[in-house]
């Protein structure tokens, strides 16, 4: 059962990611990315991280993609971006980079220490995992949490200042 769900979610993820970079219309790209985010949230649930899945849906789909759609609505994309224009030089560069990523992954795979490669069934215990994450976030990682909030404030003010006429 788990394998079937994993196959379905990973196929959806890869296909919609390909659609997100390959679609001609920018709104379609954003919609494909939305499908990819949902598939990724499902994968997080399989991996036993339901809190991350919830935040994935709330932050990415509820905030980031809506922001993308608002900007697309503000701009006149019919004139601004025509079709599936590609850049030849960097396209050649991308083949090189993909080979590099493959080589690095292969090296890591070869030199990896023996870890437990299989996991038991995930425990879907939402309350327990929220409790764990909250305790870790507000005790051990408190400084990072505060710094992230400052970063968000700076980004918000920066975006407002930059888009002001």
């Amino acid at each position: 059962m788990e394998q079937i769900i994993f196959c379905f979610l990973s196929t959806t993820l890869i296909l919609s990611a390909l659609g997100a970079i390959g679609m001609t219309d920018t709104v379609n790209c954003v919609m494909c990315l939305l499908a990819a985010m949902f598939a990724l949230a499902g994968l997080y649930v399989i991996l036993g991280a339901p809190v991350v899945a919830l935040f994935q849906i709330i932050i990415y789909i509820g905030a980031v993609l809506v922001l993308f759609l608002f900007v697309i609505m503000m701009l006149d994309l019919k004139k601004a971006a025509k079709g599936l224009a590609v850049r030849p030089f960097t396209s050649g560069l991308s083949i090189l980079l993909i080979c590099l990523i493959g080589v690095i992954a292969w090296l890591f795979h070869r030199s990896a220490v023996a870890v437990s490669n299989t996991a038991t069934l995930p425990v879907f215990n939402l309350t327990q995992s929220i409790q764990d994450i909250a305790l870790a976030l507000f005790s051990r990682h408190l400084l990072v949490f505060e710094l992230a909030s400052v970063l968000l404030l700076v980004a918000t003010i920066g975006a407002i200042v930059m888009t002001r006429k």
């Binding site: 790209c29 991350v52 990415y60 993308f68 701009l75 601004a80 490669n117 920066g158």
Partner: protein, 100 residues
């Protein structure tokens, strides 16, 4: 479930992001590709926190990365709006001088 399957999926997703970032010339799609890459890294963090570390530290890192991604999108889209006001286009190969 095997860890390698999830790691391969993460690498594949990251590669798709790299390809999209380098091939396309629409600025909004470039930003979407960066989002894909960040999500691949998030997936790998969750996989490692599940299979190797066993605690919730990896998930904390995922939250921090999500925060940074949200901030990056806010600033990036503001820059895109400014670019559109300056150049009247979103094609990066036609945005080719710095001083506006």
């Amino acid at each position: 479930m095997e860890m390698d399957l999830f790691l391969g999926l993460g690498i594949l997703l990251f590669s798709i992001g790299v390809i999209g970032f380098l091939i396309r010339s629409n600025v909004i799609v470039l930003l979407l590709s960066v989002e894909l890459m960040l999500n691949a890294v998030n997936l790998i963090f969750v996989v490692f926190s599940r299979f190797i570390h066993g605690g919730s530290t990896g998930q904390i890192y995922v939250f921090i990365i999500m925060t940074v991604a949200a901030a990056e999108v806010a600033v990036g889209l503001a820059i895109i709006i400014n670019l559109y006001r300056q150049f009247r286009t979103l094609d990066v190969s036609r945005i080719n001088f710095l001083k506006g």
